[in-house]
Symmetry: C2
Subunit: 463 residues, 2 copies
């Protein structure tokens, strides 16, 4: 036995068969919904040219990009001065030309620009691939994790926003969630609020304060806003916004009142209303749709709708988010292409389903039946049955002969195999095989054909 | 428009929706067969500790491993002397702790050792993930490509070898191949041959020469062997091996004759025979199984069976290979765990299916029906139908209103969508919608329910 066990780099994970079955359940469900809505899968390389990624995520982001050391004699072309000065940052580009993708959005923008002549717009694509970030690892934050994105580019229609809501609703309902909220806001409403009080740079201060109203009350919110430099006049104007209550229609109506002097603010209200109208014609399955003006994610790139999804069944950060951006491909000099997109937080969804015990018996992932035998004669007898089972699409294994039956049964139990077939000399003589339900312990004598008939269509697995 | 288009690093690729559909067909088929045979999926991180990978692939391999530059101020801990001497090789470990996996086998060995206490042996795992190699890119050779492996560890039974043959047979048959050969050899036979002529280091010279017999004849082979240092006595002993002909049984019989003085050689013959006997009880679907003693891949790690798969329908290198290794986990100090495994060459299989036009209409991957309308009223009318279609598991899209019908039809054609529904004012009034088969051009007037009934269960796509 090994004295020092090998390990994986910190922030990375192995996925065992049981974990893979659960992850596949999540990804397959989401992919299936993306496809049903006309989204098509693409994949991009794990590595991009470093120049494609640099400068897209801010200075902090640049530091978190994993760079790949140039192959071969990388020191031959290294920046000697930077190295002599121990200036790591300056040295990087001389010894690294490639890097691991940091998200799926920048590679997607690069893809659209690179293949623009082959793409039919509106281009609805989805992408499920790992990304890498040199973040400090902590609970729930990994250095390698999957992103699960759907984006449409080349269509300004708000139907796309409505469809994203339907996609969240359908996918999360299929995953078994029963109570979750899709929050929607619009960047233009936030811009409108800023315009009304002439404070374009304090939007975040405002939304952070308003978000606390349930905890600290109107008085507390006003106190916080005053500390942040909002005047009494500002606060008077903002009161209807701070106190925004009621259903979505009522909120919209009050917002229109408060934003009547802002063209962009009213446009934001119009856009939200159009999305709501689409949804009226396509009732949601399990989701609650909620206008939430404190939703202020991605303000430096979202230009229209902003989405965030939260489960109401367990305490957990957002399990999805997205929005509209008017200039995705501008970073690669292709201007004027509007887009919108959403993302599912697969790792958090995994934790939610685990906590709520929502993973189904891992359908079609495991072995349905294990054939056990005592010796080579049993093996030989079993082989045609094994093939017959598999030809009927029943996942089946034959335990190699020469191992005690007890150990074979342990194998079935450890792998959660729901049925076993025992082949001894009596069984071979009579053709009547001992068929056992490993869950109930029930045992019966059946012919090969009877067993195949019984198991046909059964793909479930014990939990 | 961009003047300089962005690109991907050399040796890497984007996969378009059409390519993804085809790749998914290949991977889903192979994964389905792996599962049916009781193999379970795992995934390991893209990055491993550099020390986990170094020294496992030979000096040449070590150079081809992509190293990841340490994050942050990597120069602070850099080996100053190595850098001053411009000794790139020596500097690496001081500025890089992690690397991208080079294959799936070493990470699997690391996984088995790390998780040995949680694993039920025999452990049958499959893994389909990308690997990275800093090879010089060329036609058909990429720096990022998927490997598709199944391995079993902890079972010495030759039933596993037989099952690998069945897996190749079933998976490649399902992919549409009609004529392919699974070649099998056994390392022990090669060792036996070396033993008989007492030339353990010249096995490759021998197999390379024998492999040419169809081209250069016995005379040519003998000439080549003589040049490589084989004596007349050697060649006399080897003649039955060089001239090995007939069916598998006849070849085995002749080999036994030639190897009668070598215990290990005879053991190799026995092993091959046992595998053949298993296969006799489970007829192959499309594959031809062929004993080929010139098969000499992976001699530095395979210890028993050696496999290679070739299609006979187009000229192409091997599309699969594998074998038995007696000491997979020894590199991580866990001794005595025998294993065997196979791999599918997905990129080559892709090229074969493309050349033979074997990709099916990309089932379940594309949109089945596009709803087209003229204006917002049409959109509103269409939404319940859109939802009804999707609720019946029919992949459907609604083209956002405000675009000419011609352009909407182009969209359907470019996306190979087989059906369209047109909703104009007449249609809205009568409830009788214009339903068009885009392939045949046939058009009919149908109610929403009739359309849903007609499309239910249709997931195919135009090619």
């Amino acid at each position: 036995m090994a004295s020092i066990k090998p390990s994986v780099p910190k922030g990375t994970r192995d996925f065992s068969p049981a974990e893979m079955a659960k992850r596949n359940f999540i990804f397959d469900t989401i992919k299936g919904v993306f496809r049903k809505y006309g989204y098509q899968q693409i994949e991009t390389p794990s590595m991009e040219n470093l120049s494609t990624l640099t400068g897209k995520y801010g200075d902090e982001g640049d530091k978190l990009i994993f760079k790949i050391l140039n192959s071969g004699d990388f020191l031959a072309k290294a920046d000697e001065q930077a190295i002599a000065n121990k200036n790591s940052n300056q040295a990087i580009s001389s010894i690294s030309e490639k890097a691991l993708r940091y998200d799926l959005t920048v590679p997607f923008a690069r893809y659209v620009v690179q293949h623009q002549n082959d793409i039919t717009f509106p281009f609805k694509r989805f992408q499920v691939q790992p990304v890498w970030r040199a973040d400090r690892p902590q609970k729930g934050r990994y250095r390698e994790f999957y992103q699960c994105d759907a984006d449409v580019v080349g269509s300004a229609s708000l139907l796309n926003e409505a469809e994203f809501i339907m996609i969240y609703d359908e996918a999360l309902s299929l995953l078994g969630l029963k109570n979750f909220t899709i929050k929607i806001n619009n960047r233009k409403i936030l811009s409108g609020i800023a315009e009304v009080i002439d404070k374009p740079d304090n939007i975040i201060d405002l939304t952070v304060a308003i978000d606390k109203i349930d905890k600290i009350g109107l008085h507390g919110v006003i106190k916080e806003l005053t500390e942040k430099g909002f005047t009494d006049a500002d606060i008077t104007k903002l009161k209807p916004v701070i106190l925004l209550e009621g259903n979505n229609e009522e909120k919209l109506e009050k917002l229109r009142q408060a934003l009547q002097s802002s063209a962009i603010g009213l446009q934001g209200c119009d856009e939200i209303e159009i999305v709501f109208n689409y949804i009226k014609h396509t009732p949601l399955k399990k989701a609650t749709l909620e206008l939430d003006i404190t939703l202020a994610r991605g303000l430096n790139y979202y230009t229209g709708a902003i989405f965030e999804v939260k489960t109401n069944e367990v305490a957990m950060g957002s399990i999805g988010g997205g929005g509209r951006y008017d200039d995705l491909t501008g970073m690669f000099s292709l201007k004027g292409l509007t887009g919108a997109g959403i993302s599912f937080g697969a790792d958090r969804i995994y934790d939610v389903l685990e906590e709520l015990n929502l993973f189904p018996a891992a359908a079609e992932q495991g072995t349905t039946v294990l054939i056990c035998c005592f010796d080579a004669a049993g093996e030989t007898y079993a082989l045609p049955l094994l093939q017959q089972l598999r030809d009927n699409n029943i996942s089946a294994e034959l335990y190699p002969a020469g191992t005690k039956i007890k150990k074979q049964m342990d194998y079935a139990n450890n792998k959660h195999i729901p049925y076993t077939i025992l082949i001894g000399s009596d069984e071979m003589q009579s053709g009547s095989l001992s068929f056992k339900n490993m869950e109930s312990g029930e045992q019966e004598s059946l012919s090969a054909n009877q067993i195949v008939a019984k198991l046909s269509g059964k793909t479930g697995q014990r939990k």
